[in-house]
C-alpha cells in the first residue's frame, strides 16, 4: 500500500508546574505525524523530542488508550476531547486533522478539578460523589439467585446506558458553570432504574447531590453542552431523572420527619 501523507501541526500547550504556580501556553511543532496515529501517540512523539532536547515532557493523564478508563481528557481548540463526536482523546486519530493546523491544548477548567501539572488535573471529587451514595448497600455473600430479579429489557438497557459513564470529566469541562449534573445524574439514574436500587433511592439522591454541591461544582442550566461533549453519549434525560429523584426525595424526607413527630 502507498504511504499515507503525514501532517505537520503547531501545538499551543498549557504548561503549569503545579496548582500553586501560574501556567502559560508554550508552542511546539509536531512534525511528520502519521494520520493513523492517535492523538496521544502524537503527543508521545513530541515528548520524545522534548526529552532528547533536555526539556520537560508534557504531562497528561492517560492509561487504557481504548476510551474506557476515563483517565485521559483535555481541551483541543475549546472542545473537550477534541472535534470528533463520542470519542475520548486517546481514541481520536490524527486523520481528523488537516496539515498545518494549529491546536490549542488546555486542561479541564473547573475549580472542583484543580490542575496537578500541565494537562493533568485532580478529579477525585467524582470519587467523593460516588462515596456519598453511588452504590447499593449489599454485602458480599447471601445474594439471591440472579434470575430471581427479572428486570425488563428496556429498563436494563437504559440503566446500562447510564452506567457507561467513564468519569472523564468532559461534561464538567464543557459546562459554562462547571456543573457535574450529568455525571451525578447518570449514577442516580442507573441505580434508580433497577429494582435493586429502590430501597435507598431517596437518601442516594439527596446525599449525592449534596456532595456534588459541596465539591464546588456549579449549577445546571440545561444547556446540554455536557451531553454533546460526552464520549459515552450520556443523555440529558439523566439530569432530568436526577432532578425528579431529588425533588421526590426532598418531599419524602419531610414526610418522614413529620411521621416521626406524630409518633
Amino acid at each position: 500500500m502507498e504511504a499515507k501523507k503525514t501532517l505537520n501541526l503547531t501545538l499551543k500547550v498549557w504548561r503549569q508546574k503545579n496548582a500553586q504556580t501560574e501556567g502559560a501556553f508554550e508552542t511546539y511543532e509536531a512534525k511528520d505525524v502519521s494520520p493513523d496515529a492517535s492523538f496521544l501517540e502524537m503527543l508521545d512523539s513530541v515528548n520524545e523530542i522534548l526529552i532528547k532536547k533536555g526539556e520537560l515532557p508534557i504531562v497528561f493523564d492517560h492509561d487504557c488508550r481504548e476510551g474506557i478508563c476515563g483517565s485521559c481528557g483535555f481541551m483541543i481548540n475549546g472542545n473537550a476531547h477534541g472535534p470528533q463526536k463520542s470519542t475520548t482523546v486517546c481514541q481520536l486519530h490524527m486523520r481528523q486533522f488537516e496539515d498545518g493546523q494549529e491546536l490549542v491544548l488546555e486542561p479541564w477548567r473547573a475549580s472542583a478539578f484543580p490542575v496537578i501539572k500541565d494537562l493533568m488535573c485532580d478529579r477525585s471529587a467524582f470519587d467523593r460523589i460516588i462515596k456519598a451514595g453511588g452504590y447499593i448497600s449489599v454485602n458480599t455473600g447471601g445474594a439471591r439467585d440472579a434470575n430471581s430479579i427479572p428486570i425488563s429489557k428496556v429498563n436494563a438497557d437504559e440503566a446500562f446506558l447510564s452506567a457507561t459513564c467513564i468519569a472523564c470529566g468532559a461534561c464538567v469541562a464543557s459546562c459554562k458553570n462547571a456543573s457535574a449534573a450529568l455525571f451525578t445524574g447518570a449514577k442516580i439514574s442507573h441505580l434508580a432504574l433497577l429494582p435493586q436500587g429502590q430501597v435507598e433511592k431517596d437518601e442516594r439522591a439527596l446525599n449525592m447531590v449534596s456532595q456534588m454541591d459541596a465539591e464546588g461544582f456549579g449549577a445546571c442550566t440545561t444547556t446540554g453542552a455536557c451531553s454533546a461533549a460526552c464520549p459515552k453519549e450520556i443523555s440529558l434525560t439523566n439530569i432530568a431523572k436526577m432532578n425528579r429523584e431529588y425533588l421526590r426525595a426532598s418531599f419524602a424526607q419531610k414526610e418522614e420527619v413529620a411521621g416521626g413527630d406524630l409518633a
Binding site: D36, D63, R144, A146, I151
Partner: protein, 638 residues
C-alpha cells in the same frame, strides 16, 4: 537447591475440598477484626472486591492504586464477558463442566482444586454482581442473557455489551466506596508500590511512591494482598493499559515470593494490527466477535487483491477447516498460532500481517441491526482506530499479547511463599494453567476477591502470632532507603536513551523470541541481548525532571527496569520448559503444528526463587500437578 512446593490442597474429593477447608479454617471474632490491618495493592476486580469484602467483615483495609481513581484499573477494559456455570440456558452446563473445560483449556497445567473452586464460585459472582446493580444483558422476559465464548460448547458467558469489565469493576468499586464511606477502607490513590516490607519472615507492609508529590511513604499491616494485574507490557505493545506493570509483584519476588510459570503468556488472536513505529498500544477486538464473525485468508499465496475482490471459493476459512467441531470458537492460543502460520506462509491480508474477521454472512442472516445490537460499540471502536467500516469491509486482525497466566506462586489459600503476602487475580499464577479461556479472567479476579481471600486471610490472622510493627522500624527505613537509592540512581544517569526507546527494544526481543513461537536458539540469544539491554538501561537511560514531583518518565523507568529483569526470567523459564503447552509453544516440540506436551517430565509448576542479584541465575523449584479428576489427554478441538 531445588525444593518441592506444598500447595496445601486439602484432602477429599474435589467437590468438597473448599467446603471442608472453609469449615476447618479458624475464624477471627468481629471484635478482633478491627484490630487487624490489611493492605490491598491494586483496585481492579480482584483488589476492589477483596478490599470491599474485607472492609465489610470489619478489617481495617488500606487500598492502594496507581490511578487517579480506583475505578480506572485495567479490568475496566475487559470487553467480552464473564463465565458462570448457571446453566440458565439448559444446554448441559454444570460446575463440573466449567471445571473440566478450564483444566483442559489450560492444557493440563493448572491446579485442579483451585479450578474447581473457581467454577463453584462463578455462580455466586453473578448473583453478587446483579445484587449490586450491575446491568448485565437481559432477554425480553427480563432474565439474564448468555453468549458462547472460545473453548466451550455451551453458552455460559454473561455480559454487558462490550463493556463487561467496566460494569463489573464499577460494581466492585462502588462496594468499596461504600466501605470508604463507612470508614473501614482507607483509599490511597496515585500511589505505586515500590517495595514489600518483610519483618521476621512475614509480609508486614509496603513502601509506596506518592505519584503526586514524589515522596516515599511507608504503611504497616498484618497482611498484604497484591492484586496488581499482569505483565503483558513486557512486550511493549500489548492490549494492556500503559500503566500495567510487573513492578509490585516483582518487588515482592525480590523479597522472597517465588514467581511461577513466567513464560505462560496469552497472545489474543483478535486485535487490531500494528500501524507503525510510533504505536503505543494494541487494541483488542473481543473474542465474542468470533461467535458471528468468520476468520479467513485468501487461499492464494501473496494475494494482493482487496478482500471484496476475492470470491468465496478462493477463501480459506482455516479455523473451520482445521477445527471442524469448534471452528471459529477454537481457544485463543490455537487461533493465534493458526493466524501466525497463515501469515508466515504468505497468506496475510494483502501481503500484510493480518487476517480477516468477516461479518458478511451474519449480517446477511440476521441483519445489520442485530449485529449492531451485539457488537455496536466494538464496530465503532474499530472504525475510529482504522478508519474502515466493518459493516462493509471485513475487519483486519492480528494476535497481540493480552494476558499473563504466570505470576507469583500461591498455595490453595492464595498465600505466596512469604507468609502474610497474598496474591489475587492476574497477579497470581493459579487457575489458568498454560492458556486462559475467554471470559475467565473476570471470573477469577472476582472469585479471589469476593469469595476466597476473605476466608483465607482470616485463617492466617487467626493462626499467626503478629507482633506490633511501626513504620519507624528499621525494616521500613531500610526499604525506604533502598527504594530511594534506586530512584536517585535512575535520576542521575542522565544518559542518551529515552525510557520508551529501551522499552521498545525489550518488547521487540520478547515478541520475536518469547512470543507466539519459541526456540532454544532464539531464547538463548535473547537472554544475552536482555542482559546487554539491562546494562544499557543502567548506564544510559535519561529520566528528565525531578524525583520529588509528578514525573511519568520516572514511573515508566522503574517499570521498564523491572520488565527487563522479568524478560530474562521469562526466556529462562521458556528455555527450561522443554515441551509445548497452551500459549507456550516450543518449535522443537510439536506434532503437525499442534503443541506437544511432555507430561512425564513437565506436569509441574515451575516457581523461580530470586537469587539476591539480577546477575545471578534464579533457582527453579517445582510443584507437581496431579490430575485425579480430569484425565490427562491430548487437547483436541478438531
Amino acid at each position: 537447591m531445588s525444593i518441592i512446593l506444598d500447595s496445601k490442597v486439602p484432602n477429599g474429593p474435589v467437590e468438597t475440598k473448599w467446603q471442608n477447608q472453609k469449615f476447618n479454617m479458624k475464624l477471627v471474632s468481629p471484635a478482633n477484626k478491627r484490630k487487624h490491618t490489611v493492605i490491598v495493592v491494586g483496585t481492579g476486580l480482584a483488589g476492589a472486591s477483596a478490599a470491599a469484602t474485607m472492609g465489610e467483615l470489619g478489617y481495617k483495609v488500606k487500598a492502594f492504586c496507581v490511578h487517579e481513581s480506583p475505578r480506572r484499573a485495567h479490568s475496566v477494559a475487559a470487553q467480552g464477558g464473564i463465565n458462570a456455570a448457571k446453566n440458565y440456558q439448559n444446554d448441559g452446563d454444570s460446575i463440573y463442566r466449567l471445571f473440566y473445560d478450564t483444566v483442559k483449556g489450560g492444557d493440563f497445567r493448572a491446579r485442579e482444586a483451585n479450578v474447581y473452586r473457581l467454577a463453584e464460585a462463578s455462580v455466586n459472582i453473578i448473583d453478587q454482581a446483579v445484587a449490586q446493580g450491575v446491568p448485565l444483558a437481559r432477554e425480553y422476559g427480563g432474565l439474564l442473557s448468555n453468549r458462547s465464548f472460545g473453548g466451550a460448547q455451551v453458552s455460559r458467558t454473561f455480559y454487558a455489551r462490550g463493556q463487561t469489565g467496566q460494569q463489573l469493576l464499577l460494581g466492585a468499586y462502588s462496594a468499596m466506596m461504600r466501605q470508604v464511606d463507612l470508614g473501614t477502607v482507607e483509599l490511597h490513590a496515585r500511589r505505586e508500590m515500590l517495595d514489600l516490607v518483610v519483618v521476621d519472615g512475614k509480609a508486614r507492609g509496603i513502601v509506596v511512591r506518592n505519584l503526586k508529590t514524589g515522596e516515599l511513604e511507608s504503611h504497616e499491616a498484618d497482611v498484604v494482598v497484591v492484586a496488581s494485574g499482569g505483565y503483558s507490557n513486557v512486550f511493549y505493545l500489548s492490549t494492556n493499559a500503559m500503566a500495567c506493570a510487573v513492578t509490585a509483584t516483582w518487588k515482592a519476588h525480590k523479597r522472597g515470593s517465588y514467581f511461577a510459570n513466567p513464560c505462560y503468556t496469552q497472545i489474543h488472536p483478535t486485535c487490531i494490527p500494528v500501524h507503525g513505529e510510533n504505536q503505543s498500544k494494541l487494541t483488542l477486538m473481543s473474542e465474542s466477535l468470533r461467535n458471528d464473525g468468520r476468520v479467513w485468508v485468501s487461499a492464494k499465496k501473496d494475494d494482493l487483491r482487496a478482500p471484496q475482490d476475492i470470491p468465496e471459493n478462493e477463501r480459506d476459512y482455516y479455523l473451520e477447516r482445521v477445527y471442524p467441531s469448534f471452528g471459529n470458537l477454537a481457544p485463543r492460543d490455537i487461533a493465534s498460532r493458526q493466524a501466525k502460520y497463515r501469515i508466515d506462509e504468505g497468506f496475510g491480508a494483502q501481503g500484510e500481517k493480518a487476517v480477516y474477521l468477516d461479518f458478511k454472512d451474519s449480517i446477511a442472516r440476521m441483519g445489520e441491526a442485530k449485529i449492531s445490537e451485539r457488537y455496536g460499540n466494538l464496530f465503532q471502536m474499530y472504525d475510529k482506530i482504522t478508519g474502515e467500516n466493518p459493516y462493509k469491509m471485513p475487519m483486519r486482525i492480528y494476535p497481540a499479547p493480552h494476558y499473563t497466566m504466570g505470576g507469583l506462586w500461591v498455595d490453595y489459600n492464595l498465600m505466596s511463599t512469604i507468609p502474610g503476602l497474598f496474591v489475587a487475580g492476574e497477579a497470581n499464577f493459579s487457575d489458568h494453567g498454560a492458556n486462559r479461556l475467554g471470559a475467565s479472567a473476570l471470573m477469577q479476579g472476582l472469585a479471589d476477591g469476593y469469595f476466597v481471600l476473605p476466608y483465607t486471610v482470616g485463617d492466617y490472622i487467626a493462626n499467626t502470632k503478629l507482633g506490633a510493627v511501626k513504620t519507624t522500624d528499621d525494616a521500613f527505613k531500610n526499604s525506604e532507603n533502598e527504594v530511594n537509592k534506586e530512584v536517585q540512581k535512575m535520576m542521575t544517569i542522565k544518559g542518551s536513551r529515552t525510557v520508551d526507546s529501551l522499552h521498545k527494544e525489550l518488547g521487540h526481543i520478547m515478541w520475536e523470541n518469547c512470543g507466539m513461537s519459541r526456540s532454544k536458539q532464539g531464547l538463548t540469544e535473547s537472554i544475552d541481548k536482555i542482559k546487554k539491554l539491562r546494562e544499557t538501561f543502567w548506564n544510559d537511560v535519561r529520566v528528565p525532571g525531578e524525583a520529588k514531583d509528578v514525573n511519568p518518565e520516572l514511573e515508566k523507568a522503574g517499570r521498564v527496569a523491572d520488565f527487563i529483569e522479568l524478560g530474562e526470567l521469562m526466556c529462562r523459564d521458556a528455555l527450561t520448559r522443554e515441551e509445548s503447552c497452551g500459549g507456550h509453544y516450543r518449535e522443537e516440540h510439536q506434532i503437525d503444528g499442534e503443541a506437544k506436551r511432555d507430561d512425564e517430565n513437565f506436569a509441574h509448576v515451575a516457581a523461580w526463587e530470586w537469587s539476591g542479584s539480577a546477575d545471578k541465575a534464579q533457582t527453579r523449584h517445582k510443584e507437581e500437578l496431579k490430575f485425579d479428576n480430569v484425565k490427562l489427554a491430548t487437547r483436541s478441538y478438531k
